[in-house]
């Protein structure tokens, strides 16, 4: 994407620079209109956009949550300035500011808020999704390997915004089972 953008920028700059070269072209408005406006303005812009859009939509399609028997469901509730997480497979258990997930399995995070708008973001696992009072948004995340991942709030929410963070811990299968048995690792 960045390479493409650089190329387009370079193209426009070259066109601009060439406008300054000394020359004596006979003015031919009609031909120029066809070349600049229809050719470049409409044709060029549309081609680039079509390509980009196709790319965006296919990538977006791949990010869509797909049903799978493996999926783990968790809940994330945002509050100024903390997060609490609940687990479908471990009812009643709530962890503060730490989300436990199994590695290698898709996880659906149901996100909501009890006060203002927040946003759930674990940069290395997925894009962000807002926590909005009165609504529940579901985000699919998946950690390929066990480990810890930093999570952030990504919607301004007042004075504690800068330090409103959490941690995601992805467990291997054994640890995850231990966690589900209530033996907090």
């Amino acid at each position: 994407m960045f390479a493409g953008a650089t190329l387009i920028l370079a193209f426009v700059l070259v066109l601009l620079a060439l406008a300054f070269r000394p020359r004596s072209v006979p003015p031919d408005e009609r031909g120029q209109t066809r070349f600049w406006i229809i050719g470049l303005g409409l044709g060029f812009s549309m081609t680039i956009l079509a390509a980009l859009l196709a790319y965006g939509l296919t990538v977006g399609e791949r990010l869509l949550p797909r049903d799978s028997a493996e999926t783990v469901a968790v809940r994330a509730v945002a509050e100024r300035w903390s997060w609490s997480f609940g687990y479908e497979e471990l009812p009643g258990h709530v962890t503060e500011n730490v989300l436990h997930i199994p590695a290698g399995r898709p996880v659906d995070v149901a996100i909501t808020s009890v006060d203002v708008v927040h946003s759930f973001w674990v940069p290395r696992l997925a894009g962000k999704l807002d926590a909005i009072p009165g609504h529940v948004n579901v985000l699919r995340i998946e950690a390929d390997a066990p480990g810890t991942y930093d999570g952030l709030t990504a919607e301004f929410n007042g004075e504690g915004y800068e330090e409103h963070e959490f941690l995601v811990i992805a467990h291997d299968e054994a640890d995850w089972q231990a966690f589900l048995r209530g033996e907090a690792p």
């Binding site: 066109l15 203002v116 962000k128 009165g134 952030l152």
Partner: protein, 827 residues
């Protein structure tokens, strides 16, 4: 009459009062345009200082310079000032100053309204400035998302300053937009058909139409949020059936078009300046106009791309993502038309051209990153990081500040009649260019590394320290560059040498007058036959000064201009303007009193202020009284034209039509909010519905129809017998019935503070009641007018205007009553 004598005579008629006292009573567009520009650049300075404080804070990790309470005010006020108090008013000021000159006329459609708009901006901006200095400035970010900005999480007065101050300032934007629409469509030189209009006027027209449809959703949102904060009517609280997403929709319904409202005038400047700098004409004039119109339409379909992370359904994402990238097409058409124009001509590197090149580089980069964030998967990562901040500055600074700098240097010779002496501007351009890209390229980068926007500090371990330092140092280079521009302009006023008229050899009409421009612009109005009248007739200025155009005879000591048929440009009627008056500043001060009473919650003052507004408004319109029939007037060149008061479609009618377009958008947004809450918000349907009442509905609908029919009887009565009192009385009765019905609705709403449903119905009723009061006031006014003999079959212009407002009242009353009763019936 010699040119000099005509000049003296016209100056005596048009000039403002001498000295600083004249500022308070001037209604002349050249004066008010200058005042607008001076004030908006002052706010640019303030916003810039805030930006420097922000960058100073972010320069190093764990900076102790500002804590979150202060930092949150800094970035909120920086964004707010730049968007609302700098960018939009700069467009208004530039257009106020330039449009009549470019269109070949003597003033805008409503000179007193121009001044009123300025004073609203001045007082509203003053409120926000005060909050900043007092340390109680808004701190919820420039888009003010509730519930963070709601009564529970922001109990202080900070947020109220934003909601009330910005709404006050928006009045000036709406006034200006109405005025530009009417002026561009009707106040042009004879012969200037639409296709001969200067390209800047096209852009100003499109921008104005966008303001009329873009700002009402924001004004509605601000009103609702302020009502929630002040009186507890819940619109955005999920527990009570409200939804914070409603604010996001209303805000971005405004916010996205806002970006184009800022960019299009700048594009108008570019389309004007490039051909002149390249000694040629704009390539593909028709295409460029079409592209601007397309951009305006598309931009209203895009607001949702600011909400990609709010959990919009997948199909919606795909649609808005596609639509968002689509705006790049009309933008591409314009960019390539400009480059094609440069190829067509011979570009010369004058200072304005340098800034245009700065625009090209910056804006194209901003457009490319914009297309990236329109792609959903990318936006999910970049959203709310410094990447987005950097992108938006590439678009706003590239797309607005560079073109405005070009505009300053391009029109400065007209503004002052002098030429630059010191060559500070070139150096300044270099500093600005380097400084800008240093600042914001670095911010793209830290954004991709994960630095969020709106954080007041960060850890040294994050590894962002060097990049932030580079960004901050560059921002100071940028600031020095901008300061040099300011110095250059000031020096220009003080020491520079007198210049030639039309130094760039431009073809548009603003150069066919002495520089600096006289108060009356043109001693006689030109006849336009081509798109570049000054190029086709280099002696035009002299001929106009000699009185060879329209309205050359100042014998009657009136401020005269004429209007044309919108598309062909054939003269239609003559307009006689009111002279200097303090009414605008008084009116704005009383409007300010109204807002102030809400801000400091001194509610006994509110009705007094409202009564004051009604009284001054009455006097405002009353002073346009025309005691006798004038008949067709001498308009020069052997032609006679009727005066505006003796026509069916006077300026007031056109202005009302455009104002009502904005009003209808406001109403439409309110209905949208009602439907949105009903379908999307949690906690619906409400616990208790409004009891349907046939009586209320019947009285309301009948009243609405009678008000509208009564006005038609009045028009007919006036035309045949010269009196319309009977019809007016009928209309007034109908209006009263409509008012009664909607007032009853408001009273019967079960619990306005209990649920968003009730709150919405209450506001809907209030909206209709307000319009009934307005229509009633107008009808009463007209009755008094008829009684005092200020109307006649010829002097008929005020009847159709009131009819328009009565019709709108009828529409609103019917819709409000129906949508309020329907659910109860269906249940």
């Amino acid at each position: 009459m010699s040119a000099l004598r005509r000049h003296r005579r016209l100056t005596a008629i048009w000039a403002s009062e001498p000295g600083w006292k004249g500022w308070f009573s001037t209604v002349n567009h050249t004066d008010v345009g200058r005042m607008f520009l001076a004030t908006s650049f002052f706010f640019f300075l303030v916003g810039g200082i805030l930006a420097m404080l922000i960058r100073a804070q972010l320069a190093t990790p764990h900076s102790a310079f500002a804590g979150p309470e202060v930092y949150n005010q800094l970035f909120t006020m920086h964004g707010t000032i730049m968007m609302f108090l700098f960018a939009i008013p700069t467009f208004e000021g530039l257009a106020i100053y330039l449009l009549p000159k470019m269109l070949g006329t003597r003033d805008l459609a409503y000179p007193r309204l121009t001044a009123y708009g300025y004073w609203c901006y001045f007082f509203g901006g003053g409120m926000l400035l005060f909050s900043l200095l007092a340390g109680i400035a808004p701190d919820g970010g420039w888009f003010m998302y509730p519930p963070l900005t709601g009564p529970i999480y922001s109990p202080g007065i900070n947020t109220d300053f934003w909601l009330i101050g910005i709404t006050f300032v928006e009045i000036s934007a709406i006034c200006a937009a109405v005025e530009f629409c009417v002026s561009i469509l009707r106040y042009r030189a004879p012969g200037m058909s639409l296709d001969k209009m200067p390209i800047f006027a096209w852009y100003a027209l499109v921008t104005s139409l966008m303001i009329l449809t873009g700002f009402p959703p924001l004004i509605l949102g601000s009103v609702l949020l302020e009502v929630e904060r002040a009186f507890g009517l819940p619109f955005f609280q999920a527990e009570l059936g409200g939804d914070s997403l409603l604010w996001q929709h209303l805000f971005w319904l405004f916010g996205h078009p806002e970006v184009y409202i800022i960019f299009l005038p700048a594009a108008g400047v570019i389309s004007t300046v490039i051909p002149v700098m390249c000694r040629t004409t704009l390539l593909g004039y028709g295409w460029v106009v079409a592209a601007a119109v397309a951009l305006a339409f598309l931009s209203f379909g895009l607001w949702v791309h600011h909400m990609f992370t709010t959990g919009i359904p997948h199909m919606g994402l795909a649609f808005f993502s596609a639509a968002s990238t689509l705006v790049a097409v009309p933008t591409g058409v314009q960019v390539f038309a400009w480059i094609g124009t440069m190829w067509k001509g011979r570009p010369e590197l004058h200072l304005p051209m340098l800034h245009i090149l700065g625009f090209f580089v910056t804006f194209v980069m901003g457009g490319l990153t914009g297309v990236m964030v329109a792609i959903v998967p990318f936006d999910w990562q970049a959203h709310d990081t410094a990447f987005v901040t950097a992108h938006l500055h590439y678009v706003l600074f590239g797309g607005f500040v560079f073109p405005i700098l070009a505009a300053i240097y391009y029109w400065l010779p007209l503004f002052t009649g002098r030429t630059r002496f010191f060559k500070l501007g070139e150096l300044a351009f270099g500093l600005i260019f380097v400084g800008f890209h240093g600042t914001f390229l670095a911010m793209h980068w830290v954004g991709l590394l994960g630095q969020r926007r709106r954080i007041e500090t960060y850890d040294a371990e994050a590894g962002w320290t060097t990049i932030n330092l580079v960004s901050s140092v560059s921002s100071f280079v940028l600031a020095i560059g901008l300061a040099m521009v300011l110095l250059d302009v000031l020096l220009h006023f003080v020491v520079a040498v007198r210049g030639r008229r039309n130094p760039w050899h431009a073809g548009s009409l603003e150069w066919a007058m002495p520089a600096p421009p006289p108060a009356y612009n043109f001693a006689s109005l030109p006849v336009v036959e081509t798109r570049d009248p000054v190029s086709s007739d280099p002696h035009l200025a002299v001929r106009l000064a000699r009185g060879e155009g329209w309205l050359a005879d100042p014998a009657l000591d009136r401020r005269e201009t004429l209007t044309v048929e919108p598309s062909s440009g054939t003269p239609e009627y003559m307009v006689i303007y009111p002279g200097n008056t303090r009414l605008p500043i008084v009116f704005a001060a009383i409007t300010g009193l109204f807002f102030l009473s809400l801000l400091i919650k001194v509610y006994w003052l509110t009705p007094i202020a409202l009564a004051g507004i009604a009284t001054v408004g009455w006097r405002w319109v009353w002073s346009l009284a025309q005691p006798v029939d004038l008949g067709p007037q001498e308009a020069g060149r052997g032609e006679r034209l009727p005066v505006s008061g003796e026509t069916d479609r006077a300026p007031g009618w056109w202005g009302s039509a455009f104002l009502l377009a904005a009003d209808a958008t406001f109403f439409g947004s309110l209905l949208f909010g009602y439907a949105f809450l009903w379908t999307v918000a949690p906690g619906w349907p409400p616990p208790e519905l409004l009891e349907p009442s046939l009586l209320e509905l019947g009285v309301g609908l009948a009243g609405a129809l009678v008000a509208s029919i009564g006005m038609r009887i009045a028009i007919r009565g006036n035309r045949s017998r010269g009196t319309g009192v009977a019809g007016l009385a009928v209309a007034l009765t109908g209006t009263a019935a409509a008012a009664l019905a909607v007032a009853s609705l408001m009273i019967r709403v079960p619990a306005p503070a209990g649920h968003a449903y009730d709150a919405t119905l209450f506001v809907l009723g209030g909206y209709a009641l307000f319009h009934a009061a307005l229509a009633g006031l107008m009808q009463t006014f007209l009755i008094v007018r008829v009684r005092r003999g200020f109307t006649s079959p010829a002097r008929r212009a005020e009847f159709p205007i009131v009819c328009l407002w009565a019709d709108y009242l009828a529409l609103v009353t019917i819709l409000v009553l129906v949508v309020a009763h329907l659910p109860g019936w269906l249940a």
